[in-house]
């Protein structure tokens, strides 16, 4: 393969990966004057993972999918320590909503893509590598995160969800909650609702 065509294939693959991620990332807004806004990722079965600081103390939030469908989701479980929340979408909102599979925490230096809604820019993409981990165990990336990315998806090269975008540790250094914490939340919610 020539060098140029390799780069083109890589670029096309990345655009295709972003397209798939964008379809599974929803907008989340909580009602009220001081309502938060952010993103969330559909994990299948109507379950959307987002950040606890996006939903605040709300029991219900508004969700808008990439196709423009709007619905109300109930806040099913919250893990404040991990800054995670799990939403349950109404069945009619889930019919054509693609989901991302949960992956494993990415290795140092691995390529990652971040998709969220920074500054109201819906489904904006950024790419980077895994820079390291912070003391809270979050994955740090140099993908350019901004307010509004919260709750968005950090995916690896296989398109699996490997982090929930949560913090800006420094300019151009974003932190994502690791997939183990998402699994723990899913298990906890499953135990409650099982």
């Amino acid at each position: 393969m020539s060098a140029a065509s390799l780069l083109t294939r890589l670029s096309d693959a990345q655009a295709e990966a972003v397209r798939r991620v964008r379809d599974a990332v929803v907008e989340v807004s909580r009602p009220g004057r001081r309502g938060g806004r952010g993103a969330g990722t559909h994990l299948g079965g109507g379950r959307v993972v987002t950040c606890a600081h996006v939903v605040g103390s709300a029991r219900e939030v508004r969700v808008r999918t990439a196709s423009g469908a709007v619905g109300t989701a109930c806040v099913e479980a919250v893990a404040r320590g991990d800054d995670l929340a799990l939403l349950a979408l109404p069945p009619e909102a889930v019919v054509h909503l693609p989901a991302l599979r949960l992956g494993e925490a990415p290795a140092l230096g691995a390529q990652v893509l971040a998709v969220g809604h920074p500054g109201g820019s819906v489904g904006a993409a950024s790419a980077g590598v895994v820079v390291g981990h912070d003391e809270a165990g979050r994955t740090l990336t140099d993908a350019h995160l901004r307010p509004g990315h919260s709750g968005g998806a950090l995916v690896d090269a296989t398109g699996r969800l490997v982090g929930v975008l949560a913090t800006l540790s420094a300019p151009d250094l974003g932190g994502a909650v690791r997939p183990e914490a998402v699994r723990a939340l899913l298990t906890a919610a499953g135990a409650v609702h099982g």
Partner: protein, 292 residues
């Protein structure tokens, strides 16, 4: 392909892409602090750059990829799209341009700039794409293309390059904090053509002072009440009088002054049909839109 060799191949391909485009990227010396970048627009010496980096009209210099520094003159500038066209006597190497429609969100892009002797680059992706938009000062840009490229000193005027080493636009940081936008090639073409011909982008005008008003009854609901008509203006020549309410121009509804500016801005020298309400009755008048 082995994983190691794939990484080496990607890295080499990125370097080769920069090397392919760098001969088309020049340094623009036109402001007090810090140089910026520009891209060869024609083989006979035209350079396209960011207007906000061209802070003076005279004593301009362009640093060529060969290292030579040549004098340049300002052909024209359009602050509304943040574009400026410079002329040098140098032989330049224009890049291969590509329509911005060929890139999607997530595609790889490189910026290639030259704010000192050497080219510099940064890697990113297309962060967001949308349709045509207007800048805060009324400039029309054919497509919204935001990248996640880090805005380094001299980024403005850099070439935004795709994985095929084609330039999809000119980088600018002018339209928002840290937002590295690419002004698409088609917009550069339109503005550069006007700058080459007129030295500026002619703005259409009617010569009226207006105020937004609400209209009762069925109909447009709102319009612009004409408070004054300038002497010898296009509006006066068309027979527009004080008290008319402009509700449409050229088939576009006009509710506010921003609507009127938007439909006039690129109609200079052309005839447009004004839809007005006069004495409660709707009528139309043709006006030849002025240029200034």
């Amino acid at each position: 392909m082995h994983a190691d060799s794939a990484l080496v191949a990607v890295s080499d391909a990125l370097a080769a892409t920069v090397e392919a485009v760098a001969p088309s990227v020049v340094r623009v010396e036109a402001r007090r602090r810090g140089n910026a970048s520009g891209v060869a627009w024609s083989a006979d010496g035209l350079v396209i750059a960011s207007d906000h980096t061209v802070q003076r009209d005279d004593d301009l210099r362009v640093g060529l990829p060969s290292g030579e520094v040549v004098p340049a003159e300002l052909v024209g500038r359009d602050p509304s799209t943040d574009l400026a066209l410079l002329r040098t006597e140098a032989d330049l190497t224009p890049p291969t341009w590509a329509e911005v429609e060929t890139v999607a969100v997530g595609h790889l892009v490189l910026s290639v700039g030259r704010h000192d002797a050497h080219a510099q680059t940064a890697l990113g992706v297309v962060a967001q794409r949308d349709g045509a938009w207007r800048t805060g000062t009324g400039g029309r840009v054919g497509a919204f293309v935001q990248t996640d490229i880090v805005v380094y000193p001299g980024f403005s005027g850099s070439a935004i390059v795709d994985a095929r080493a084609r330039v999809i636009g000119l980088g600018t940081s002018h339209f928002g904090r840290r937002a590295a936008l690419a002004l698409p090639a088609a917009t550069l073409q339109r503005v550069a053509d006007m700058l080459a011909e007129h030295g500026r982008v002619p703005r259409g005008y009617l010569g009226v002072t207006t105020q937004p008003v609400r209209l009762r009854g069925d109909g447009p609901g709102a319009g612009l009440l004409v408070l004054d008509v300038s002497e010898a203006s296009p509006a006066e020549a068309a027979g527009v009088i004080v008290g008319d309410v402009i509700v449409g121009v050229g088939g576009e509804t006009v509710h506010g002054t921003h609507d009127l500016m938007a439909v006039l801005v690129e109609a200079a020298g052309e005839t447009r049909t004004l839809e007005i309400v006069r004495g409660g009755a709707r009528q139309t008048v043709d006006v030849e839109v002025g240029a200034r």
